[in-house]
């Protein structure tokens, strides 16, 4: 992977770049850290306050570090299907799908969102691996397919139960979108692309906007008293509560989609027909069953177990924590871990080792906090639980 990076990461870019909203974050009191090659705000007023605000109102997250790509040309969907296990040719205009880019061994190169934008396919990939993704796509897609990296676009996420009411006042019409659909809209003469999606477990939107208009849009959003800016810290605790894996932590090239419990990303008919990179390996895991599985853990007490903590059943190590922290919504620690399939059943008691101490935990269903997506006017929003 590092070889690809040196080949494709433009040499003239500084090691740590700044995002279009860099100055805006600093003005708003954002504490900046290096993340995915960018200076990004980890928090403004505090992680728990921002977390709770997102669950009850609406928060503005800058996710401009993510790669916004497009594929255009005759047969783009068919070509992309050779690299993903999802149904892309059947994706209707304005529809989005979560998918996984896999290597030859079925390992996860990245998780991403694919949208049928009409003229082309839109891809949103993780910031930390976007240069590798671009290299991989360029290497394996036919030359007739044009791959464009929209580095000139910023990406703002507005997340929370009041996101739709707020955004409708700024970009009329967005309220018509339902979860995992998208469309082009006009915002004061600027074309923006709005997706009803996100990574917090809440209803919300991601807005792709030209970088030179990002500050004006951010200001318009936080001018509404229901919106506050939120940083990477809250984004991480929110996605963990929502049971959503984070690439580079809960997913990497040593993990296959079956062990990651992301079967929904493998479109049923394509599981059998194959024709995508990694199919042979993944089909074998599907047939034999995975030896490990990504599971959720709920901990007793207040001490969090973080990434790297070992998981024990009695004296036997049966797994490792890949994400963990204190859940502000639940008031106790939660974690994601990979454990041996024999210890993956809901309710299984396990112990986590933190600084030589064993913490009691049990396998719990994810999401830890019910997801609250908007699926349309006739459905009841939120998890039926």
């Amino acid at each position: 992977m590092s070889e690809d990076q040196t080949e494709t990461h433009p040499d003239d870019l500084p090691e740590v770049q700044v995002l279009p909203l860099d100055a805006w974050h600093r003005t708003k009191g954002g504490r900046m850290v290096d993340f995915a090659g960018y200076q990004m705000p980890i928090q403004y007023e505090g992680i728990v306050a921002e977390h709770d605000w997102t669950r009850s109102h609406a928060s503005l997250f800058d996710v401009s570090h993510m790669g916004q790509l497009s594929l255009e040309g005759e047969g783009a969907a068919e070509a992309l299907e050779t690299l993903l296990p999802g149904d892309i040719t059947g994706l209707k205009p304005g529809r989005m799908r979560y998918s996984l880019m896999l290597d030859e061994n079925g390992g996860v190169l990245d998780d991403l969102i694919v949208t049928n934008v009409g003229q082309h396919l839109g891809l949103v990939v993780n910031g930390a691996v976007k240069w590798d993704d671009i290299a991989h796509l360029r290497e394996h897609l036919p030359d007739e397919i044009t791959l464009t990296h929209h580095a000139e676009q910023a990406l703002l996420a507005l997340q929370g139960p009041e996101a739709a009411a707020v955004l409708e006042t700024i970009i009329p019409g967005v309220g018509e979108l339902v979860f995992m659909t998208a469309g082009g809209f006009d915002w004061n003469g600027t074309s923006v692309w709005v997706s009803r999606a996100g990574y917090t477990g809440e209803d919300g939107f991601e807005i792709s906007v030209p970088a030179d208009k990002a500050e004006a849009l951010a200001n318009a959003l936080v001018a509404d008293s229901r919106v506050k800016p939120a940083g990477l810290g809250a984004r991480d605790s929110l996605r963990l509560e929502a049971g959503l894996p984070l690439y580079g932590h809960d997913l990497d090239t040593d993990i296959d989609p079956v062990s990651a419990d992301l079967l929904f990303a493998l479109t049923k008919k394509r599981r059998e027909t194959g024709g995508w990179m990694g199919h042979e390996s993944v089909a074998r895991v599907l047939a034999q069953g995975p030896s490990v599985k990504r599971i959720g853990l709920v901990l007793d007490g207040r001490l969090p177990a973080r990434e790297g903590a070992l998981v024990f059943a009695g004296d036997t190590q049966v797994g490792k924590v890949t994400s963990g922290g204190f859940s502000p919504t639940l008031g106790h620690p939660v974690a994601m871990a990979y454990v041996a399939i024999s210890h993956a059943a809901i309710g299984t008691p396990l112990q986590l080792e933190v600084r030589g101490k064993r913490l009691d935990a049990r396998v719990a269903p994810m999401p830890f906090v019910p997801q609250n997506y908007y699926r349309g006017p006739t459905s009841i929003s939120g998890d039926p639980k």
Binding site: I42, I47, R302, L303, P304, R306
Partner: protein
């Protein structure tokens, strides 16, 4: 009774041969929301500069060092129930542990309040 400060953002208040140790307001503001504090048990021997306690914020775990050597008299029992005391009252009720001072000369070289204030302003 006098209060000293370290460049690791601990405070230490000495009364006779007993010292009370905590983290400064600046430290808690950097750590953010604190969810768990692990304090040393009574009887633990600590040496100057060694790990003595751990504070877990929503973000990460951080070590707290013993500013001087000594024998732990008690950890703050209130932090078990209410670790957020470290955020709300870091330099009073949110103390971490008390020590029986082994060697008072180790206090030499620590900062006083004015020096620490200048140190933080320079960060």
């Amino acid at each position: 009774m006098s209060r000293y400060f370290t460049d690791e953002h601990e405070w230490i208040e000495v009364e006779g041969d007993t010292a009370t140790i905590g983290i400064t307001d600046y430290a808690q503001s950097q750590l953010g929301d604190i969810v768990f504090v692990e304090v040393p048990a009574a009887g633990t021997q600590v040496t100057k500069g060694a790990d003595a306690a751990v504070v877990e914020s929503v973000k990460a775990a951080s070590d707290v060092y013993a500013p001087i050597a000594g024998t732990v008299l008690e950890g703050n029992p209130a932090l078990e129930e209410d670790p957020a005391l470290v955020n709300t009252a870091p330099e009073t009720d949110g103390w971490f542990f008390k020590l029986k001072v082994a060697d008072a000369s180790e206090l030499e070289g620590l900062m006083d309040e004015a020096a620490y204030k200048a140190f933080v302003e320079g960060l």
